[in-house]
Symmetry: C2
């Protein structure tokens, strides 16, 4: 059955297990864009097929048998199967693209693949793209004058690997081969021979996963053999002094002649300092790091690549490249093995970046049954909604309120910021970063304050504060008197009196601050509304709501629900997945299967641009108000 979804005709694939010694398992079905390999399609729905070469068509392990549907044999098939087997439908699933509906039989996975729980309840098979192969070469003789390179390639081919070497490596071959007396370890990454090491070094293979955030950069050093985390570090993005958010970074590149190269240099320096610390902590040498995966928003990834992000900042918001980019460590200046491969996860749109793609890997949102919502709250709200059946994404411009900007006593989430608020019948409790006296209000504190004011009845659904006198009728006087009115009749709520604050003056939440928050949350809630309508989904249908991004970790799910930032679902379904980008980068590093999923996500997830959409404006207006409390159930 061929299904048309939003203009893309998908092909249906049915996978059957059929073994004599067990009850036939239920067939697994999926629908994929034409051209996807059976290997990737199977993996997509959690049906891993054997492979040691990284699905490059060389190891011959990913056999399947086509029962129905047309699939001609490829040259790779001919190397592996006999004519009789080909006639019987056997194919290498990593080379077999689905162009029409297919039914195929998948043999049982050989052995017990190493797997681990990663991200958020994801069962991931460890299968790094880095392979170290110990080779004992026969020394050359007059009867066997193959070149050094051919000798290695032939030996690799016997082990099921086909790989090409760079000039840098070719230059090193004669020395290493002869010094090692022809006993070497070849390092194959994907289809590249990135290194040849003397002796047996198969026990040591490392990779790095980075979440390049606008504010914070997180780096993980991973053992590619075991999947174990060797060291984890985070640091401030050195670009922070050139602007707090992506727009100010882009502006910096536009206003300064050498702005792009400076911001590029700074992020590379930040990464290299992290790398030095991680390697030191893990007792790993720089040349033992063979692969890197990065996640980050489009602007951060552009600046890391040294690609001009200017067009991302201006309508119609165009990146230089949106696909997964692969470069060498040397090309981008990372202080690891120069030939190491660096993979930048792809984007879904200029403002739904690789951090969200990583989030999809970490949550499995686009691969699972059941509709889930992923929201990254920041100056832009990035929104992804869907399931294996269909997934849509959008970005909503939220403005800086969630970062504490344009809020009278707002501040960034650093020491002295009120990050959480609880209002009881007669008191207000503040949680302050660093534990000292409060000096301002950061985004999560703002959200909490408004939510608590709504719960206490001190704020109306319209966002207006009640009058102090009216408040006195249902809360204690010490709370009611915190509602103050200035000379022009504008109300505000005093979170901390001057004597309670660290700054010597009171910290207040103004009516205008509340409006700012309303616009910010209205934009995101409006975006969510648009994609829910697009999928025909109601709040009750949502299995889970993930709050992602650095801000996502700090939001009180209850508060998010009270102010209507997220749909009204039971609060236990709302989960903070703040480290989703880093987790996703790690998954893509440790599993080439999952990296292939990431590669195909931009093709599979539908991106909807909100700018200029009438229904977004309607939704925005309809959700500006805060929900009535009774609607929250």
């Amino acid at each position: 059955m061929t299904t048309t979804v939003s203009g893309t005709t998908k092909v249906s694939i049915e996978f059957r297990h059929d073994f004599a010694d067990e009850t036939p398992a239920t067939p697994k079905m999926t629908r994929v864009p034409p051209g996807m390999t059976l290997f990737n399609a199977a993996n997509w729905i959690g049906l891993p097929i054997d492979s040691t070469c990284g699905a490059k068509g060389t190891c011959g392990k990913c056999k399947v048998r086509i029962l129905r549907g047309h699939n001609g044999a490829t040259p790779a098939d001919r190397k592996v199967f006999t004519e009789a087997e080909l006639a019987d439908g056997w194919r290498l699933s990593c080379r077999s693209e689905a162009h029409s509906d297919v039914v195929c039989e998948v043999p049982r996975l050989m052995g017990n693949p190493k797997a681990a729980l990663m991200g958020f309840d994801r069962h991931v098979i460890l299968n790094a793209n880095v392979h170290k192969i110990l080779l004992t070469l026969t020394p050359p003789t007059l009867e066997d004058q193959r070149s050094d390179y051919s000798r290695i390639r032939d030996a690799l081919s016997q082990e099921g690997y086909e790989a090409e070497a760079s000039l840098t490596l070719l230059r090193q071959l004669p020395g290493i081969l002869r010094k090692s007396r022809w006993q070497i370890t070849a390092v194959v990454v994907g289809q590249e021979l990135v290194g040849v090491e003397a002796g047996d070094t198969t026990g040591r293979a490392y990779g790095l996963a980075f979440d390049i955030g606008t504010t914070t950069v997180v780096g993980m050093l991973l053992d590619l053999n075991s999947g174990a985390s060797v060291a984890v570090r985070s640091t401030l993005n050195g670009q922070a002094i050139y602007g707090a958010d992506v727009i100010s970074r882009i502006s910096y590149t536009m206003l300064n002649e050498d702005g792009l190269s400076r911001l590029n240099g700074v992020i590379v320096q930040t990464l290299n300092r992290l790398i030095a610390d991680l390697l030191h902590e893990g007792q790993v040498a720089a040349h033992e790091v063979y692969e890197v995966v990065t996640a980050g928003n489009a602007t951060m990834q552009h600046l890391f690549l040294g690609a001009d992000p200017e067009a991302i900042g201006l309508e119609p918001f165009i990146p230089v490249v949106e696909d997964m980019v692969q470069v060498r460590a040397r090309e981008v200046g990372l202080a690891i093995l120069p030939q190491a491969q660096v993979h930048l996860l792809p984007y879904l749109g200029a403002y739904v970046g690789a951090d969200l793609v990583a989030g999809l890997l970490a949550t499995g949102l686009a691969q699972n049954e059941g509709v889930r919502l992923l929201v990254d709250v920041g100056t832009n709200g990035e929104i992804i909604l869907g399931s294996a059946a269909r997934t849509v994404a959008t970005a909503a411009p939220a403005g800086p309120a969630f970062e504490g900007a344009q809020i009278q006593d707002g501040m960034r989430a650093s020491d002295g910021a009120i990050e959480a608020v609880i209002i009881t019948h007669d008191a207000i409790e503040l949680q302050v970063i660093g534990g000292g006296s409060p000096i301002g209000l950061c985004g999560s504190g703002l959200l909490d304050a408004v939510a608590q004011l709504r719960l206490s009845g001190l704020m109306l659904p319209s966002g207006r504060f009640v009058q102090a006198e009216e408040a006195g009728q249902f809360v204690a006087p010490e709370l009611a008197r915190r509602i103050i009115t200035d000379d022009e009749g504008r109300r505000a709520f005093v979170l901390a009196w001057a004597e309670e604050s660290g700054g010597g003056k009171s910290i207040v939440l103004t009516q205008r601050d509340v409006r700012e928050l309303q616009f910010a949350k209205g934009s995101i809630a409006g975006g969510i509304d648009v994609v829910m309508q697009e999928l025909g989904v109601e709040a009750d249908d949502l299995v889970e709501v993930y709050l992602a991004g650095s801000f996502g970790s700090y939001i009180n799910p209850q508060s998010a629900r009270i102010i209507g930032l997220v749909p009204p679902v039971p609060v236990e379904r709302i989960k903070a997945v703040g480290n989703a980008a880093g987790e996703g980068a790690k998954i893509a590093l440790l599993s080439f299967r999952e990296r292939e999923v990431a590669r195909s996500l931009p093709e599979i997830v539908e991106y909807h641009e909100l700018s200029g959409r009438g229904d977004f404006n309607d939704s925005f207006l309809s959700v500006l108000q805060f929900p009535e409390l009774e609607t929250l159930g």
Copy 2:
């Protein structure tokens, strides 16, 4: 019919033209190693199939219909053909590998392909690997937010090109696209997008072909659109001061810490000076050169790559790499477009280098009917014998005699060297380089002198001079008295008396010099004998004998025949093809089809190592003597 040749099972391919409007042409047959594409196999036997994408499976023009034999449809086929066409046997010949015997029908070539006579009577279809495609892109909008890179790739795909960009190019995209107002010329080389230029620059596309000789480097700047030669220059290889031949260059790298990097730097400098001159003469900008092909012996190509040639110099003579190597201009330091592709032609063995592979392209030896012999005479004699049916190659160590070394009055072929000799009944005529008085004897003069002495009867088949008195009986006295005897009874022949010479002392050919020449020519003739026995070929079977290499141009074919350097064939069948390497590099630059031929030559030509072979020693001893004159016919 599957034929086994020397351990390789070849598959047979029959190509049929079958058009209603003309008498069916005779089918063309060939046998190729399994896995060769039908496209390359057809080209191999002079049957070009249409293609605009460079046989990358994207333009869809290289259609053939399989009449007999098994060939599954590939993903590329599925993009081009309907199910009915696939069932009817239609395939893209560039994607269709022959793994068993095949009969296929080839449609007539569309249009009239541009072709030229190149090399030595080769009819070559001009089809450079560089494609410039004018693209008018639709500017991005909110409804079309594709990235800059996707926008270009989609437009290229519509024109039948699939190409990947490097990071360097990605970094340039946003600026060029917006400055050019979305009107650009894409430069696709093979499967790489190497450049994007503002506006329409399709008229300008250039390439460079180099013959990197041990002594002389020849460079050609070619117009890739027309195939015209824009400029040709040659210069001394700057490495000459570090040693005259490959062995002394290799020694230099072994004896000096920075020897390899120095010799690498020097040859790159030599090439860049040639490039500067060629570009200046042709009024071409450096960034308009998109591709380079180089030919040269293995040592010269290793030094150009910066790869250690040490193992080439020592038994068992192992290069770092023997395949065609592709690098970027930037990686090897050539002063042209940094992303330009540089292709180093492959080798047949450590001592049968890319200069000989180029020679095969220039002569068509391995592609034509009729057995031909190609000999490059130097310190090593490189020998290739064969036809389209089978070709074998070997290298014979000749020593430095042909270069005038270890010859008493020997010198290199420079001003003052006797380069040709004619002995009549009563006189000797010397041809001197530069036209002045002679000061020594170079290789071709040595060959001539010995051949003329043999013809005149002054030298016996054993190589011994006759006695002066005996000589007086059949030549004039002034000639006979040139045979002199020293105190120890050793004879010599005076080519120039002291008063005739430019050096103030007589120039003589000693008995020992003759022995040196005998060893040198014996080695080459012995090698020729081995490969002729290998193929079961007699001198009469040879259609042509090519003398290649810089020395080859200067050898008098008659003399080569008289001393037995080459088999006894009619002298008009002996041709000097001194510039074969440069011509071959040029052909490989102007025709991607011929470059594919070059790529497959190492797989097809059988290389025989002579070191330690008993039959070579036997042959060597049997040809040490000079032939009896009557055997020359």
